[in-house]
């Protein structure tokens, strides 16, 4: 691909332009003198924060919530999705309920989770699980159902039973679907881990956002937003990288 070597510089260029627009807008533009800090003061604040252990603790807490929640959701959703996908009846009957839960924004159950868990890491983890487990299970079930009947029949002709069909055909066939589910889930997990702090008071970057905002530390608030952006970008890049390695056959 000829465009590939250009990708990183091109991304950098747009980032620099965005920072410039931000700087101009907050220095001479319509946002001058507003509560929006300038790009330079935000970057300076970000630089300072990188040397504070509290920042890294918060980052780690947020990652932990997202990661644990994500892992628990995966461990639940993939086996459940496989089982549901194997039976037409189970698929149709659970799809309705799962779709219902899938569309409930996790934010609406925050009051309940605060009552149960308090503003803790566990609460954040629970919210992350709730936010992604249903969609991931449905996605897995779809993938399992998508396995080519010709392939399954070929296996049956060669005397391979249900367990082998699942292991060698249905799971690999489902993996591109699961990968899409995982890509969406990872982003959602990060967002929900922040919201859990911002709205529910769970520890981490979300909670820091809430604190700096109420204290009027606008540069710090924006610096945290920058951290979240960089973190999100890194995580999604990592997932895409792993996906390309693991599900190589769909690339061509």
């Amino acid at each position: 691909m000829s465009g590939k070597p250009l990708r990183i510089p091109a991304g950098l260029v747009s980032a620099v332009v965005a920072l410039l627009i931000w700087q101009i807008a907050t220095t001479w533009g319509p946002l001058a003198g507003s509560s929006v800090p300038t790009a330079t003061s935000t970057l300076a604040e970000l630089w300072n924060m990188l040397f504070m252990s509290e920042t890294w603790d918060s980052i780690w807490q947020t990652i932990q919530m997202a990661l644990y929640g994500f892992l628990i959701a995966v461990v639940i959703a993939i086996p459940v999705g496989i089982l549901i996908g194997l039976s037409r009846f189970a698929f149709i009957s659970t799809k309705f309920t799962f779709d219902f839960f899938k569309v409930i924004p996790p934010i609406v159950i925050i009051p309940i989770t605060i009552l149960v868990f308090g503003p803790t890491l566990q609460m954040g983890v629970f919210l992350v699980v709730f936010a992604i487990v249903f969609a991931l299970a449905i996605q897995t079930a779809y993938g399992v159902r998508d396995a080519d009947p010709v392939l399954i029949e070929t296996m049956r002709c060669y005397g391979m039973g249900r367990a082998k069909q699942v292991l060698y055909a249905r799971l690999p066939a489902a993996s591109p679907f699961i990968a899409i589910g995982i890509r969406i889930s990872v982003s959602a997990a990060m967002i929900v881990a922040v919201v859990a702090g911002l709205v529910g008071g769970a520890p981490g970057l979300g909670h820091d956002l809430l604190l700096t905002e109420t204290n009027g530390q606008n540069s710090a608030t924006f610096a945290i937003v920058l951290i979240l952006g960089i973190l999100g970008l890194a995580v999604s890049r990592l997932v895409v990288f792993l996906q390309r390695r693991l599900i190589f056959w769909t690339a061509s």
Partner: protein, 256 residues
């Protein structure tokens, strides 16, 4: 010669919301050991249904199919299949070697035996050294060769093929036809093939079963009395070849 497969009064009905579809009606014929038998008929006549019954993927609503005197109730052990759609019947996430190894693992062969069979069957189909390639890195004809190699590796006594050469170009098709004949000669495998190509059926077969009607019955079983070995150049110019293809074509189109 012993009977490899006998189809005895097989009927097949499908229940659909609109009612019952009667696909096959009292189909009977016998396949001798080591014979190459083609099943032809107009499209939609029920050739694929019959093939599903032969492979044990479905059970007939009446009658029975016996393999070496034993009624089949699921896919027989020593049966191998080659299907039309090689892209759908091979696993894109497994290398050629692993695709072929899967049925062998299922037969609980040791690693050394698997290795030996994979090498031998790839050599038989002219794909030496393709072990570590993935199916999607190969041409259509080569992928179908992999399917054939997978079938051969299980050392089947019966090979069932569903339109095996319908998705490859004409030149490759001739090559694969000759490959299948060579394989039959080398291993003496009883081969059943569903095809819509009457020339191909005449070229390859000892016998051709012609299905016709709705529900389908055996219209005729045509003996192809052209001696083996056959060749693409000579056999297809043979007077007898022309007569047989005209005869079979006439029956398939319902003109005879």
């Amino acid at each position: 010669m012993a009977t490899a497969i006998s189809v005895n009064g097989v009927s097949m009905e499908y229940k659909t919301p609109k009612g019952t579809t009667h696909v096959l009606d009292d189909v009977s014929y016998e396949v001798q050991d080591g014979h190459f038998v083609s099943i032809v008929g107009p499209s939609g006549v029920g050739k694929t249904t019959l093939l599903r019954l032969l492979t044990g993927l479905a059970l007939p609503t009446a009658g029975e199919i016996q393999v070496r005197g034993k009624k089949i109730s699921s896919s027989p052990d020593d049966l191998a299949v080659v299907l039309q759609d090689y892209t759908r019947s091979l696993m894109p996430w497994l290398s050629v070697e692993k695709n072929i190894a899967l049925p062998l693992k299922n037969q609980k062969l040791s690693k050394a035996e698997r290795k030996e069979r994979i090498t031998a069957s790839l050599a038989e189909v002219g794909l030496e050294g393709a072990e570590s390639k993935y199916p999607w890195q190969l041409s259509g004809g080569m992928q179908q060769r992999v399917s054939i190699a997978r079938a051969l590796a299980v050392r089947p006594s019966i090979l069932v093929m569903d339109e095996p050469f319908a998705s490859v170009d004409a030149q490759t098709r001739f090559d694969l036809e000759d490959l299948v004949l060579k394989v039959r000669d080398d291993f003496g495998i009883t081969t059943l093939m569903v095809t819509h190509d009457i020339d191909e059926a005449v070229y390859l077969s000892d016998e051709i079963v012609v299905l016709h009607g709705k529900p389908a019955k055996v219209r005729d079983v045509v003996k192809v009395d052209i001696p083996f070995p056959r060749s693409q150049m000579e056999t297809r110019n043979d007077q007898r070849f022309a007569e047989l293809r005209t005869h079979v074509y006439g029956m398939v189109r319902g003109l005879e």
